[in-house]
Symmetry: C2
């Protein structure tokens, strides 16, 4: 089949007409489909329902060291909850704090604390002329919203299949004292599903920041979110690498069970060095008397250990995999070789990233919307919502039913083709 780039004006016009006819037919159906947010499906949520039975009025709500989980106390979490999340990610339980239900909230809180109180004795960022954050792109829109809300200048760092462009990261981090942090989703990244290579993790650990209060915001949101049993990405433990380079204070790692147990009713956690933990706890003591230990106990009793989490994640994968595979098969079948862009084939995480030819993402998303398919807004995976090439579209396959997803993908494919054709026709205008 010819790519659109090889077509004559007449062929493109003919193609446009047939794509438009299909598009109008979709529009007339008055559909309402959603591929916009990384939410687990009802089927996935059902997997965790037995968790609602592990505690009852007959269960002693007591931690293994005898603490009454119904009362105040244990500001940094139950020891067994720390162990569960540490084992899940492969760090030490002593380096973990268990928080409430939202790791996003914790990340906001870390930026906010740095802003008001500084980092391990540094000048609070609110007293500085300029604070900069590096943002590997495409990335997670909610990360960027946090830094934007604090007026922090965000600098785009291109992603490659190995992770962020480390030449650029090293130059900026090691050379500019105003650079205070970098947002990373190191495994099955949001939205590309890229896992950082060993080389990338080692270069992170070897950074020599100009700013003593520079921190890597290592949001390991998808650490156990594999789609395949036999083809799992492996991520080096950043703390193990930092120990070798003496830079353990440089990393805050964020964890969450929102996409393991229940979205918004799971556990969030932070892993960090002893020095960082002491700094964090100094403020935490003023912030809270403690987080929900009953929910911590519930998670511990349900999952038992990291193996329990891994077994549970296989069930999630079994539910999610057909959705990812269907979309990718449809893309292969309908879009491959047509010169309409490219896409990632992730082995885990929650997203598929589609990259149109330059200048088409917004129009694809707009067209899809007008045909009843809500996508994540074009530009969202970039700081300030600005995709310099207007090309990246984040697709979230998990939430819709497979039937809805099939229809939504058909419409998306039509929109991609149509937007491409119309872009190419501009040269004749």
């Amino acid at each position: 089949m010819k790519s659109y780039q090889e077509m004559s004006k007449e062929e493109l016009l003919q193609e446009q007409e047939s794509l438009r006819a299909a598009y109008r037919a979709y529009q007339e159906r008055g559909l309402s489909l959603d591929m916009s947010r990384g939410k687990p499906s009802a089927e996935q949520l059902e997997l965790s329902m037995p968790m609602m039975d592990v505690l009852s009025s007959q269960t002693p709500l007591v931690s293994r060291d005898g603490l009454d989980c119904r009362n105040y106390g244990a500001l940094d979490g139950l020891p067994e909850a720390k162990e569960l999340l540490a084992d899940m990610v492969g760090c030490k339980a002593d380096n973990v704090i268990i928080y409430g239900n939202s790791s996003l909230n914790v990340m906001y809180d870390f930026i906010s604390r740095s802003f008001t109180h500084g980092v391990m004795g540094s000048t609070p960022w609110c007293k500085l002329e300029k604070v900069k954050f590096l943002c590997p792109v495409p990335g997670y829109d909610r990360h960027f919203s946090i830094t934007e809300s604090f007026g922090i200048e965000m600098i785009n760092i291109p992603m490659s299949p190995e992770g962020p462009d480390m030449d650029m990261v090293e130059k900026l981090v090691n050379g500019d004292e105003a650079v205070k942090g970098i947002w990373c989703v190191p495994k099955y990244s949001n939205p590309q599903g890229i896992s950082y290579s060993d080389e990338t993790v080692r270069r992170f650990a070897a950074l020599k920041p100009a700013a003593a209060d520079f921190r890597i915001y290592w949001d390991n949101a998808y650490c156990v979110h594999h789609l395949y049993d036999d083809a799992q990405d492996q991520l080096l433990d950043i703390f193990a690498e930092c120990e070798k380079t003496g830079s353990s204070n440089m990393v805050y790692e964020f964890l969450s069970t929102s996409k393991i147990s229940f979205a918004g009713a799971g556990l969030a956690a932070v892993a960090a060095s002893a020095d960082n933990l002491a700094d964090i706890k100094k403020q935490l003591t003023n912030q809270s008397i403690g987080f929900d230990k009953i929910n911590q106990l519930r998670h511990v009793l349900f999952f038992k250990d990291a193996d329990g989490i891994a077994a549970h994640m296989k069930k999630h994968a079994a539910s999610m995999r057909p959705k990812f595979e269907m979309i990718l098969t449809m893309f292969d079948h309908d879009l491959k070789g047509r010169g309409v862009g490219s896409w990632c084939t992730p082995k885990g995480g929650y997203f598929i990233t589609y990259e149109t030819i330059e200048g088409c993402a917004k129009s694809v998303v707009q067209m899809a919307k007008e045909a009843g398919v809500v996508m994540t807004p074009a530009g969202a995976p970039f700081p300030y919502g600005k995709d310099p090439k207007d090309a990246v579209i984040r697709i979230s396959p998990t939430y819709p039913s497979i039937a809805d997803l099939k229809l939504a993908t058909e419409i998306f494919i039509d929109c991609v083709k149509l937007a491409t054709v119309e872009k190419l026709l501009e040269q004749y205008a």
Copy 2:
């Protein structure tokens, strides 16, 4: 019986000797008792255990408007949870946001947001030379820790049985633009158990702050925490009063079920005007995708409505009342008319406040500690931990068993007498 002030030096020395003998006897028992923190007892926590049965794997975890509580969404809380907490305190459900497990965390967050982002468009407090907060004293130590941690200057406002000294409050709030807030526990205050009079609430509502971003931090932590069925304090609804004076934007009201259901595993909430809510939500959108709605649902199904909460609080009262009454009876019996200080007789809340003669609180707390009774540190109920008269001691009767509490109170009484005698003997030194 003679008061100590009426005694001669010789009589005081004799009294000292007999008190010291009793004190040494307590010391020799190697006790470990705790009257330091406002924690519910295990018996009280048992009252809420049936809450652990209202949800199971067979329960549809769906809100009344059809929202799946296991998934993301409903940033400001379930409508039925808003209704429950609004009805509990007598405000409108539309004015409520349901948060996570800790109202203290929410209060910290409000100060922090004002610091970094300002209040409804005002200059962020971090950009100001000076920010001041009014602190009715004695008050809640954790309030003061928050403002202290932000470097906010705290000004003591004396409490009377009517509430804070409103002449002073009016003068400072209406006259000084640097005064941005006041910490209030308006009902069964921490630690005195004082409820603000109607006149006081009305004067609050009638404030004309010099600063547009002045806010009353109305921590209604003990709104339904009556000790007696037939002798309940009534607090005017501050929002109703503010509506009359057109000052609804002046108040943030904080609520919590930590001492209703489970301490640290309940619901926190804020009630505020529509303008304030819009301002709060602008930032909340960047902070979180939402709080734990499963726990919201659990609370709604367990309590059902405000009557359900009131009925539940009667059970708490039945458990707490004998402890309060025992201490007060012992004080009446052993301390009345001895010139050793005074105490409050609260009708609700979590504390009894004892006021020694000037200059004795620290030594009483220290003596009690050395005899195995932990009290809240003297000074804690004051900003910067400084009680100008060194007289106020906060007693928390709820957590210990009645037997432990009896013994602890006996020791406390001995320490109060001994400290007083030794203070009076200083004049002969």
